[in-house]
Amino acid sequence: MIQNSWLIPLLPALAYAVIIIFTRRSKVISAGLSILTMGVCFVFSIGVFNELIHLDPVSRSVSLGWTWLKIAPWEAHVGVLIDPLTSNMLLVVTLVSLLVQIYSLGYMHDDERFSTYYSYLSLFTASMLLLVVSNNYLQIFMGWELVGLCSYLLIGFWYFKPEAAEACKKAFVVNRIGDMGFLMGVITIGMKFQTFDFGEVQKLVTQGIADGSFHADHYIAGIAILLFCGAVGKSAQFPLHVWLPDAMEGPTPVSALIHAATMVAAGVFMVARTYTIFSADPLSMTIVAYVGGFTALFAASIAVAQDDIKRILAYSTLSQLGYMIMALGVGGYTSGMFHLTTHACFKALLFLGAGSVIHGVHGQDIWKMGGLWKKMKITAATFLIANLAIAGIPPFAGFFSKDAILDAVHESSVPGHMVLYYAAVFTAFLTAFYMFRLFFVVFLGEARDHHAYDHAHESPFTMTGPLMILAFLSICIGWLNWPGVDAYSKFVYFGSTSPEGASGFFQLLAQSWLSLLVALLGIGLSAAFYYFKVFSAEKAANRYRPIYLLLKNKYYFDEMYGWFVKKVVFGFASAFQWFDDVVVDDGMVDGSGWITRKFGWLFSLTQTGYVQNYALVVFGAVAVIYLLVSF
């Protein structure tokens, strides 16, 4: 299986080509082909995992390479690197993509460009898989850019809506800023190490640390920070977070795919993949940890004041990604990747659930919903499970991974780690609060908009089926790291030994009393506000109106960036335009012509047209030459 794992990204790419070229006319064949390939890829991924787990832990890293380009003396390679990290990502990506594609059968059934949609999904997944299996920096960059392209295509899938067209442009441009850093990082790696291969770079870095030659090498810090720029863009960390909430304009299953598996996970995965470089430099680790921690808190606070069901989820994704990045920054490699895995399940579930709600009531404003529990039992129940998972209530999945992160932050040696820890705990509180706010407002209470309510209906089985599978995973997947079992920790870890977890479930509960308490507090407060109506949300919002407006307007980041682009960037641009118009165009281009013409005019004065003048000049010249020669 491992020997043939290069097929995993290739199959969906082929499916894309076949759908676009041949089967676009038939919705059934296109969707079937896409889903079938994804199913095969999922089975393949299980096979790879199965083979990998039977290998000795030390040799669980298989790299296969082929030469792609030869530009002597340099060669570019393509290849596959299968190790526990890759295998983990393969399972997550193929599973989520498979479920999303099945779900889309119901969600997109009357869209005109149904086949095109499926082809894009295939290409999107193929790009992500290419990125995941790659064994060198060049290939990961190709996958990286392809993922960016596909997200552009899918966010702007309904391009006739102006908001969607704007959103896809925004996503693309903001990502480009991060990608610039990533590309520079990759180039620097090439210059410094003369190779792009992950394994070789890792070997060189480890060697350099061991013999002390990297001790004060700013190259490593520079590379780490440049690579992290890419992760900040792709994983939507502060300050490049602005594209992700707007990415909501795409079809909801696409949001699920972007948020759970194929797009934003790429940044976290990339940091994990290049972890040797990061861990070689404490400064860059600290930056990573603080950016992640800040994003987690920042995004969670925004989510509290949003009214659009998908936007709330988008900000919760930002916040959870912040957790993952922070975990990586404090050295919690395993907990970060574990959270990525569990988050993929419950976030896909949340988005698909939201999609099901939107499908039912044809709207996204939570204040027009309400009481949907009665109408959409499966959606509501699975949504509740996902909510419990993301809030970190045991024994749901989020509890295990989030607590591992909090534990890693608590134990870390990053300067000021207790600040990060309390920020993370507060984020956990906010997460529980806003997720249950969403749940209470949408599914419980009285119907607010009767037209929407009467119209609401449970979604077809193609949509509820994936919801149930994901709900099952959202409950169980955390148990992989059941204290004492630690199956996940023993599989995915960085360095030579797997990290130690708590020794038993009750010990873990005791250890995490604080986060559990704040989560319950968040749920309780949310219930008091939005279910029992003990407090009035409107009154609180009015009383703290400036804060409410600040949060509702997302700290005015879009406005600030808008101002920055309009005033500063356009200002620079007009200065350069002036330079081009006046100095280059008028001065240099027209000027050289002007000078030539003037010289021509000057010399044309010698051409009098009087034949006797010419004769005089000829004679005079002969006389002068004669005089010069004779003396």
């Binding site: 010399f603 009098t608 047209g609 009087y610 034949v611 006797q612 004679f619």
Partner: protein, 104 residues
């Protein structure tokens, strides 16, 4: 035999050349300019013959040159007069100053 010294030939030829040059540079009538050119050519001929006589040691190189120059001068005069006639037809005048179409 008392010969005329060579320098007298040279004086004559220089005088002739000067008159010719003056005609070329100063006269406005195209025919006069042509005449000036003829004079200059003949001044050169005198030089050739004088040098051939005094230092040529019987060589015919000088006189042969003169014959060629006379021939070519005749051809040149024919061409030049043709040009003058066509200029005259154009301008109703043979004044060289009026034919200054190439002024820059």
């Amino acid at each position: 035999m008392n010969q005329i010294p060579v320098v007298h030939f040279l004086y004559l030829s220089a005088l002739l050349f000067g008159i010719g040059l003056f005609g070329v540079l100063a006269r406005k009538n195209a025919i006069s300019v042509l005449m000036g050119i003829e004079l200059m050519l003949n001044a050169v001929n005198i030089n050739f013959l004088a040098f051939a006589k005094f230092w040529g040691q019987g060589s015919l190189t000088g006189p042969v040159f003169v014959v060629f120059i006379i021939t070519i001068a005749a051809a040149e005069a024919a061409v030049a007069l043709a040009i003058v006639i066509s200029i005259y037809r154009q301008l109703k005048s043979a004044n060289v100053d009026e034919a200054h179409y190439l002024k820059g």
